[in-house]
Each structure stands twice: as structure tokens, then as C-alpha cells.
């Protein structure tokens, strides 16, 4: 019983985080479109240059990719090859058990990689911070756009390990909300 309520709380927290990520993704995708459209309007209609548009769009894109990739773990939308499932269904007496085991392994391996990557990226940001870089057009500290990768990676690790946690709590896959 206590296990169940712990799971409920965990899911609630993840829901909140997913909601924030969703807002970020929608806003940044629309802002990306907007800034490129502004660049075209500035150059073609207003005849003025606007190099910041391009730069802003690029940095939004980096953030969108990493935060979005984290968000993609929550609804299992990453591109993968489910060859194991097909083989298990054909060759195993109890395919569901084998598939579940491989799912857990995949989550765990991915988690270890993301944690290692986050650690390496944190280390990298520290060495970049020794000689701060400034962006060419907006003149902002490059650590700002670069750190979106670290934030995204930490969120990836979080969402990924949530899947592992839930897989031990219930067998009910349907409770994974979209």
C-alpha cells in the first residue's frame, strides 16, 4: 500500500516536470520559427540586417533537442530497434518476461551512459568557464546556451530512471500517460 502511494507521488512530480518541459518545447519551437521568419522579413522587406535572429534560432534548437530528448523518455518516443522483442515472441515460452528483462537492461545501460555523459559535460563546462567564450552576434556568455545540454542530460537521466522505478512498481504499462 505504501509502495503504491510512493509511486503516485513520484508520478505526480514527473507530471509536473513534464508539464514544464512541454511549455518550454512549444515556446522554443514557435520562437525558433518566429526568429527565422523575422530574419527573412528584415532582409527582404525591411532591407536591414539581423544577425541575432540566426544565432537565437540555433541556440533554441540545441536546447529544444536536449530538453525534448529528455521529454521523449517520458513517453518512450526514442528511435530504437525492437529486434529482441520479435525474437523473444517467436522463440521464448514466456516472451513477456524476457522482454521486460531486456527493457530494464536497456533503461539501465542508457541511464549509466547519460550519467557518464552528464559528468563529462559538467567537467567540460568547467574547463570552458576558465576562458569564457562570448557569442558572435548577441554577445552573451556561451555557457548559457551550452548549459542547456547539461540540463537536458540531467532531465534525461531522471526520466529514464523513473521508467526503471515504475517497471518494478506495477506491471500496468497503461498507466504511463501520454
Amino acid at each position: 500500500m505504501q509502495k503504491k502511494s510512493a509511486e503516485k507521488t513520484f508520478r505526480k512530480i514527473e507530471h509536473g516536470i513534464v508539464a514544464v518541459e512541454n511549455i518550454f518545447l512549444v515556446v522554443s519551437l514557435v520562437a525558433m520559427v518566429g526568429s527565422i521568419a523575422i530574419q527573412v522579413v528584415c532582409r527582404y522587406l525591411l532591407m536591414i540586417s539581423s544577425p541575432w535572429c540566426e544565432e537565437l534560432a540555433r541556440y533554441l534548437f540545441v536546447a529544444l533537442t536536449f530538453i525534448g530528448a529528455a521529454r521523449a523518455f517520458a513517453t518512450k518516443e526514442h528511435i530504437g530497434i525492437d529486434l529482441v522483442d520479435t525474437i523473444a515472441e517467436k522463440k521464448c515460452k514466456n516472451p513477456q518476461k524476457v522482454i521486460a528483462l531486456f527493457n530494464k537492461l536497456a533503461i539501465l545501460i542508457t541511464f549509466l551512459f547519460i550519467v557518464l555523459f552528464s559528468y563529462l559535460y559538467f567537467d567540460y563546462l568547467q574547463s570552458i568557464a576558465v576562458h569564457p567564450q562570448v557569442s558572435a552576434s548577441m554577445h552573451i556568455n556561451m555557457l548559457i546556451p551550452m548549459s542547456s545540454i547539461l540540463i537536458g542530460s540531467i532531465l534525461m537521466a531522471y526520466h529514464d530512471i523513473c521508467r526503471l522505478f515504475y517497471s518494478y512498481q506495477t506491471n500496468d504499462e497503461a498507466t504511463e500517460s501520454a
Binding site: L25, V26, E54, F61, F66, A69, I149
Partner: protein, 436 residues
């Protein structure tokens, strides 16, 4: 360690993790890259440098933009209108639903740059229709999967941008170079569809007069005008000097948004999704594809660092004398890559390895690009890693093995098109030259 041993380690980790352990493809590539760095004693900071700068590239923005534009088109009824138009044109042929699927996938290609957008949209509508008409589920899936890669060969396309980026050649020329091969594929697929399905069908007995036919086409044409304007805006804008190929993606989205708003006000029932929902979906699809592109970038960079490109160049110049033989070698590599990995990852990995040798052998980079793109597009339906078949499996509910059996005639026809594209350069260079 020798470059080739390191390449072996890379493939072992990548394929092992992705195929045996179901680790998402992008993350498998990332881990394989780390493994290579570890075995070669290189600093892992290279990975971090590329993780940012690989994505920090303006032309790459076309990926989210065209995915977003495709999503708007899909959910605003434009795609359905397009299917109606093509149905009104060829709907009375035997095997017509198959023909409509093929032609609509090709036509849908002008709206989106992504194969998976094409199959999820056109396949999603056509597969149930075909099943109703008695097509087997596995054949529906095979046909929809095969037709979906036409969306890449018909510009605009994301892989075309990736190649243009890697090869530093004009993206619009790369786009135009695959139109010729796409037309041949369309004819070949229509032929296969006729032999497999069409011959079995009864000829339609309902009489239709010519004026009625014209009237039907006219009605369908009117409702699909918004879809037909899209390519006019994209290519008119690019060739009219208003915006670049990447910027065209943003313009397409803005056009789609205006159209969506119009629908929302006047024809609410046509909309099958809320705007925020489809935007979020487009953002997540973008991320799922781009994280893969990003880690492929990392592996490509590391592979350059350990000198595999040089090793291949040395090997090729020592063992391969003519451009024609080199192209066979290149095609075999593409085909294997297309069987194993995603098209964008494959372009990022292979083009830097082979293009220097290709240009040294006097092969036109636009022609080379067409060969790569056609070959890797076929990769969407060549087992074991065939994203289109995976997707079609989801839509149709057929078994993987059965779809693979039914998709084989299409694979063989496509491979013939690959050979034609390889050895008759005019097929790919004719249209770009016409427009230049």
C-alpha cells in the same frame, strides 16, 4: 590502436547495444563513441565540444521546421484533401488504392522533409482504406512503407540538407537531383502494384461520364489548393531569391499556421488535433531525431580524428582504379549502412569518409549525393533496421516478417533504380542542370 580496429570496436558497441539490448539508437552511437575514445586514449572532451557545436548549425534547423510544417499539414486536413484529389484522378484504375497511396506519398513529399511523417500521415489514412478493399494487411504495410521514402526523394528533404551540409554543395541542387530517380521509382512501384494487386481486382463497373469525371477532379482540386500552394511558396521563394532552403522551412510553418487558423475559424471539423498538441509532438519528434543526429555527429568527428577517412582513401586509391568500380564499392557501403542505421546518421558518418575519394576520382558531388540519397532511402525498407517497416507495422498490425516478405519486390525495384542512378548520371543531374 589501428583505425580499422577502432572502427570494429565502434560497430561492435553500437550494433550490440542497439540490436541486442534495445538501447535507443542515438544513445548506442554515443556509447560506442565513448568506447572508441576510451580505447584510443583520446580526451572525452571532444564528445562535449561536438555535442554542442554539431547542433549549433543553421541549416540543421530545417529538420524541426519541416517536421513542424508536415505536422500542421497532416492535422489540418490538407493531406486528406491531397488524397481526394489523386483519388479523383486515378481512382478508377485497377489497384487504384495502391496507386493512390504511391502518388500521394510522392505528392506529400513536397510538404515534408521526413519519411516518417509521410508514412504516418498517408499510411495512416490509406492503410485502413486498402484493408477495407481486401488488400492483405502485410501488403498494405509494405506498400505504404515503400512509398514513404518517395517523400525523401521529392524535395524538400531533411537528408538532402544533411548531404548538402556534409559535402558543402548547394542544397537546392541536391534536392533536385533526386527528382529523376523518384519518378522512375513511382513508375516501378505502380507497375509492381498492378501486378501484385491490380490484376486481381475487378474492373469498376460503375459508369462515369467524362464531364462528371472533370467535375469530380475540379471539386477535389479546389479543396486541395492550399496543399498545392505550399510547394509554390517554398520553391517560388527559394528560386525567387526571397529566402534560403532552411528559411523556407520557417516560411512553410508560418503558411501552415495561417491556414490552420483559417480552418479553426471556418472549418473546425477538418482539424484533427489542437495546435499546441501538434506543436509539442513536432518538438518531441524533432528531439528524438536530432539527438540521434547529434551523437552521430560526435561519432563522425571521432572517426575523423582516428584517421579512418585517410585509411579508406589510401585503400581505395591503392586497390580501385576507376570511378565506376569505386561507385560499386560505395554503393555496397551505403547499402550495408542503410540496413543498419538511420539515414541521417549514415550521411553524417559516411559522406566525410567517401566524398574526398569520390571527388578525387572525378565524380560530380551532386551526382554522388543523388546516389547516396537514393541508396539510403531504400534503407528505409531494407531489413533488419527499416524504420518505415517498423512504422507500417504499427499502423497496419501486420507481422514484421510478413511485411518484409511483401516489401521485397519493392526493395528489388528500388535497387535497380540505385544502379540506374549510379551509372546514368543524367538521371540525377538533368533537372538541377535545367534549373541552374
Amino acid at each position: 590502436m589501428s583505425p580499422l580496429a577502432l572502427l570494429g570496436i565502434f560497430l561492435l558497441f553500437f550494433l550490440g547495444l542497439a540490436m541486442c539490448f534495445k538501447v535507443p539508437v542515438g544513445y548506442s552511437i554515443g556509447m560506442a563513441t565513448l568506447a572508441v575514445l576510451f580505447f584510443d586514449g583520446l580526451s572525452s572532451k571532444i564528445l562535449c565540444t561536438v555535442a554542442f557545436s554539431g547542433l549549433d548549425s543553421f541549416p540543421l534547423l530545417a529538420v524541426p521546421l519541416f517536421i513542424f510544417a508536415g505536422a500542421i499539414m497532416q492535422y489540418s486536413g490538407i493531406a486528406a484533401a491531397l488524397i481526394e484529389l489523386i483519388d479523383s484522378l486515378v481512382g478508377r484504375l485497377r489497384g487504384s488504392l495502391g496507386a493512390v497511396t504511391i502518388l500521394t506519398s510522392a505528392a506529400f513529399g513536397v510538404l515534408t522533409g521526413s519519411c516518417l511523417a509521410t508514412i504516418s500521415c498517408v499510411g495512416g489514412i490509406m492503410v485502413p482504406e486498402m484493408k477495407k478493399k481486401g488488400y492483405s494487411a502485410s501488403y498494405c504495410a509494405a506498400l505504404a512503407a515503400a512509398a514513404s521514402f518517395l517523400g525523401i526523394l521529392i524535395p524538400p528533404s531533411v537528408p538532402g540538407i544533411m548531404y548538402g551540409l556534409c559535402a558543402s554543395v548547394s542544397i537546392s541542387q541536391v534536392w533536385m537531383s533526386t527528382v529523376g530517380p523518384a519518378l522512375i521509382c513511382i513508375v516501378a512501384f505502380m507497375g509492381i502494384n498492378y501486378f501484385v494487386q491490380g490484376r486481381r481486382e475487378e474492373k469498376s463497373t460503375v459508369r462515369i461520364t467524362f464531364p462528371l469525371y472533370i467535375k469530380n477532379v475540379g471539386t477535389a482540386f479546389l479543396s486541395s489548393i492550399p496543399a498545392l500552394i505550399m510547394p509554390v511558396i517554398i520553391f517560388g521563394g527559394i528560386y525567387g531569391g526571397i529566402f534560403t532552403a532552411t528559411e523556407a522551412g520557417a516560411v512553410a510553418v508560418v503558411y501552415g499556421m495561417i491556414f490552420f487558423l483559417y480552418k479553426k475559424i471556418f472549418h473546425k471539423n477538418d482539424l484533427t488535433s489542437k495546435f499546441l498538441g501538434l506543436t509539442l509532438n513536432a518538438a518531441i519528434s524533432t528531439a528524438a531525431i536530432c539527438i540521434l543526429i547529434d551523437f552521430s555527429n560526435c561519432s563522425g568527428r571521432v572517426i575523423s580524428m582516428i584517421g579512418i577517412a585517410e585509411a579508406i582513401k589510401v585503400f581505395v586509391t591503392a586497390h580501385i582504379a576507376s570511378g565506376a568500380v569505386f561507385l560499386i564499392f560505395a554503393n555496397v557501403i551505403f547499402l550495408i549502412a542503410g540496413m543498419l542505421i538511420d539515414i541521417n546518421a549514415a550521411i553524417l558518418l559516411i559522406v566525410p569518409l567517401l566524398l574526398p575519394t569520390a571527388t578525387a576520382m572525378g565524380i560530380n558531388p551532386i551526382h554522388f549525393g543523388a546516389i547516396i540519397l537514393v541508396n539510403l532511402s531504400v534503407g528505409f525498407i531494407t531489413p533488419p533496421f527499416c524504420s518505415s517497416v517498423f512504422m507500417a507495422q504499427k499502423i497496419s498490425g501486420a507481422r514484421y516478417v510478413d511485411i518484409v516478405k511483401d516489401v521485397m519486390p519493392f526493395v528489388i525495384a528500388s535497387l535497380v533504380v540505385v544502379l540506374l542512378t549510379t551509372y546514368i548520371p543524367a538521371i540525377s543531374t538533368f533537372i538541377p542542370n535545367l534549373l541552374a
